[in-house]
């Protein structure tokens, strides 16, 4: 008995040290920290005290898939989840408890209860988009790494705040589009291999734009914390379409509506523009200009980067992910890939262990989201705009600057 106790104490000591290490180690400035495979238990199964302790926030739809992926990993110990819908909480907790054969998983309605838990290393977030920035920033503040579903932001301003929080606390923060690498590899490879010559532009066809929601209220279902679901968004009466997590983007899910999302422009845009920025290698940049075109009522737009490369949106006569280059053989460079095993989820977990930046590092993910939002503002105002990356403002356009952010409903402040 005594031996067992001292063994547990010893394990807790190791565990605590590892956790303190994870909280305090710089992902951006430190040299990669390579944990020996034997320490992580990779030679066989992972020692329980060396698993990454995780929790999930927002488990409907994409969150359900994310939970399944993290839960299925041997190097993850999934200990808590949060959702504002009671039935989702019950389903999720059951899945987790079943996996471990116990009743230990804690289920929360309020994500802040997860944030204050010292034993949790990392979280994944798949709430609607209007919650992402608040949750990512809160995770970073509390020393937690975070995998955040795409699109990562709902407004332009949120992006820089998220990057700053990630860098301030040296957190591993990964965006969530698996398609950037997995779907668009066939577009990316020829570009990076030099087969297209000097890349001039790429075109993305995606939509629709987000719309206003004025649906009539219905009684809030029992067990659904409607006020928490709305969170920082303007108050509105409950309607099932307003908050449905389905992948519909035509007025029957939150993905369609301006208060919660950028519509298809950010939902699918996160994938397509993510692939486009990767293919033409501008992931580290933000556009300096968005040019709005209206040719006989046909509206389309172009983002221009400081290096002259262009991303078109709905350019007439060009297909989705259509790359324009000089077409002579150019120099090739190695194509970045995920770390670890298990796709984008494995990449995140590997980076949590090694403190490297993930493939979909928050900065790259935000730069993609910024493209989507710049297009949205230009289309909303129907004019071309110049973007000051350093100050995150439109140049000489006070009206456009009003759309850089939106006031959040109390008590939510970022």
């Amino acid at each position: 008995m005594e031996n067992q106790k001292s063994k547990q104490a010893k394990n807790r000591g190791t565990f605590h040290s590892r956790r303190t290490f994870l909280k305090a180690t710089a992902a951006s400035v430190a040299l990669p920290y390579l944990v020996p495979a034997s320490v992580m238990g990779n030679a066989g199964s992972t020692a329980p005290s060396n698993r990454i302790v995780m929790a999930g926030i927002g488990i409907g739809n994409m969150g359900r898939g994310d939970q399944g992926n993290f839960l299925g990993r041997d190097d993850v110990q999934y200990v808590a989840m949060c959702d504002v819908k009671r039935d989702v909480r019950e389903w999720s907790k059951n899945q987790i408890d079943e996996k471990y054969g116990n009743k230990d998983c804690k289920a929360y309605n309020d994500f802040r209860e997860i944030m204050v838990r010292d034993d949790i290393d990392a979280v994944h977030c798949a709430t609607p988009d209007h919650w992402h920035a608040i949750i990512v920033i809160e995770a970073c503040r509390n020393g937690k790494d975070i995998y955040c579903q795409k699109p990562e932001t709902r407004t332009l301003r949120e992006g820089r705040l998220m990057i700053d929080a990630a860098r301030r606390y040296s957190r591993v923060v990964s965006g969530g589009s698996q398609r950037v690498l997995e779907d668009y590899r066939k577009i990316v490879d020829p570009c990076w291999n030099g087969d297209k010559g000097i890349i001039k532009s790429i075109n993305v066809n995606v939509g629709p734009f987000p719309i206003d929601c004025n649906k009539k209220g219905e009684p809030v279902p029992e067990g659904f914390d409607w006020d928490m679901w709305l969170g920082p968004a303007p108050w509105a009466p409950y309607h099932p379409h307003r908050c449905s997590g389905s992948y519909n983007i035509n007025g029957e899910s939150w993905r369609s509506f301006k208060d919660y999302s950028g519509g298809g422009m950010t939902d699918w845009g996160a994938h397509h523009f993510g692939g486009a920025t990767f293919a033409i290698d501008v992931r580290e940049l933000e556009p300096e200009e968005v040019i709005f075109h209206n040719e006989n009522g046909r509206k389309f737009a172009t983002c221009r980067y400081p290096n002259g490369k262009l991303i078109h949106h709905n350019y007439p006569g060009r297909g989705n992910m259509d790359v324009e280059g000089t077409n002579e053989k150019g120099p090739s460079k190695p194509v970045p890939d995920y770390a670890g095993t298990g796709g984008i989820y494995g990449d995140f977990i590997d980076c949590v262990k090694t403190r490297r930046r993930p493939f979909r590092d928050i900065e790259f993910a935000i730069h993609t989201a910024t493209v989507c939002h710049l297009f949205l503002v230009a289309y909303e105002l129907e004019r071309s705009l110049k973007w000051d990356t350093a100050n995150q403002r439109f140049i000489d356009d006070d009206e456009a600057n009003r759309l850089v952010d939106a006031a959040r409903r109390e008590p939510w402040v970022i």
């Binding site: 301030r168 952010d405 402040v413």
Partner: protein
């Protein structure tokens, strides 16, 4: 008729012409619709107003005329849904002439946020003043929102009032105050945060440390390296949470290596 009145009349005439050019019948109908517009009604019926917003860009008089009609609607006892619509549009076109009507909505729990939705984005000092004046008058439930909007506008005149709320027993108010002072980010704001950090309760330790680190980053960005380092030094001790201590150390190293 005074010179000023003549100017305004001429502006109104010009505005009417400009709005007429953007289909005044449709706009009139849409503005009329606002009087009865409610949840469940088709937002498409209000689209002429959206089109007029785009069409009147750069035409100050036409914009003022359009804004005036929205303000009149706001003052006309419209439904929450219609009010919501109007405030969203005033977020884009609102000027000083909207502020009084919007400010009147700040104390109500039903309308405070949507009023800020417009006020926070109107680039006029009077909008900030309206929010600042409302702070002592609104309920604790609404205070975090007002505090946050004042922070986003970097309102130096609110530093003292917001600093006083750092120790508010309502944790939402106190957290908002820390966040807001970080956004203001001046030496005075940082000083208030720094003073409070020494006596912060357990649940305010991380919010106030984060706010100070944000201030330090702003100092670094504006070349005030010694002020930044002084702030970082306050958070490098072992009694700080591990991530805060690491962030402070990283800040000190960054400052030391930055030319």
């Amino acid at each position: 008729m005074t010179k000023e009145t003549t100017k305004l009349t001429l502006a109104a005439v010009t505005a009417t012409v400009a709005v007429a050019q953007t289909d005044s019948t449709a706009i009139n109908k849409a503005v009329e619709t606002l009087k009865t517009y409610d949840w469940g009604d088709d937002p498409e019926t209000l689209k002429p107003i959206d089109r007029a917003i785009i069409a009147t860009h750069g035409d100050t008089a036409a914009r003022m005329a359009l804004e005036k009609r929205l303000v009149e609607a706001l003052n006309g006892g419209i439904s929450r849904s219609a009010l919501d619509y109007v405030c969203r549009r005033l977020r884009i076109v609102g000027t000083r002439q909207s502020i009084e009507a919007l400010a009147a909505l700040l104390p109500s729990e039903d309308t405070s946020h949507i009023a800020r939705y417009a006020l926070e984005r109107i680039p006029d000092e009077k909008a900030v003043e309206a929010m600042r004046n409302s702070l002592p008058k609104v309920s604790n439930k609404l205070k975090p929102g007002i505090i946050g909007s004042l922070g986003k506008r970097r309102d130096k005149k609110s530093i003292q009032a917001i600093s006083n709320l750092l120790s508010d027993p309502d944790i939402q108010v106190a957290k908002a105050a820390a966040e807001s002072l970080a956004m203001i980010g001046t030496p005075d704001a940082a000083n208030e945060l720094s003073k409070f950090a020494k006596k912060a309760s357990a649940d305010m330790k991380i919010p106030v440390a984060d706010a100070c680190l944000m201030c330090a980053e702003q100092f670094m960005a504006s070349g005030q390296k010694s002020e930044a380092v002084a702030l970082y030094n306050e958070f490098k001790s072992d009694d700080q949470p591990a991530q805060v201590k690491a962030a402070a150390m990283k800040g000190i190293i960054t400052a030391a290596t930055k030319k």
